[in-house]
Symmetry: C2
Amino acid sequence: MTSAETDEDTLIAGLAKALAHPARLQILRLLRATPGCIGGDIVDAVGLAQSTVSEHLRILKAAGVIRGQIDGPRICYGLNPDAMIALSGFLATLTAPANTTCCIPQPKAPS
Amino acid sequence: MTSAETDEDTLIAGLAKALAHPARLQILRLLRATPGCIGGDIVDAVGLAQSTVSEHLRILKAAGVIRGQIDGPRICYGLNPDAMIALSGFLATLTAPANTTCCIPQPKAPS
DNA sequence: CAGGCTTATCGTTAAACGACGATAGACGAT
DNA sequence: ATCGTCTATCGTCGTTTAACGATAAGCCTG
């Protein structure tokens, strides 16, 4: 319950870090909305250099958020919906109101 | 639908960045599980220097994820469940299966 | 008022991120 | 076989982050 949560936290933090950039969110939006497969269109959409976009794609792929499938000379990227369950679960945990009881007059345990 | 989403992306990316560190996740877990209010107990729990923990708290507070309420000499930190709705909504968007249709043989428009 | 406790801030250092240009590799088409 | 296209990688630079110790500020208690 102590060391296990550390691994969980590392995993979730990695997922969150993958989402912690507007360009990557834009890429995810694009991948979700695009009916077919896209390659260099992502570069055109985000307005950054090709190498920069490739790096963002690499990060997203490393985090498991997207998956790339080679399609001839280009690569088909697609979302991996399962990747986010850990983060979604954590968010659901936070969103649960739980307790509004704050600042209970409960001093530190005496020695 | 184009420039508006940029702001959205910036907001969501900021929230994700706030979660993109194991220590901060641990703090959020702790705040959720703690019945009363805690102050320096967070320092003890995460095992980092007091100044480092204070910085993490500052980041979480700046992102709106937590709120601090002064309680005498100490400060009561509590979760702000409403902060995550934007990120949760985005995640729900991604989780939706949408389309598995990838790599449709739809070549680029000829010149 | 003095002491102790709790939290925030400052200054510093090492590591990681983001972005770019340039380059190299892979593949289909000609 | 050669060309053109698409993608990944490398090297670099500036900025940001994470972590720490030391220090200051705020507020109860005695």
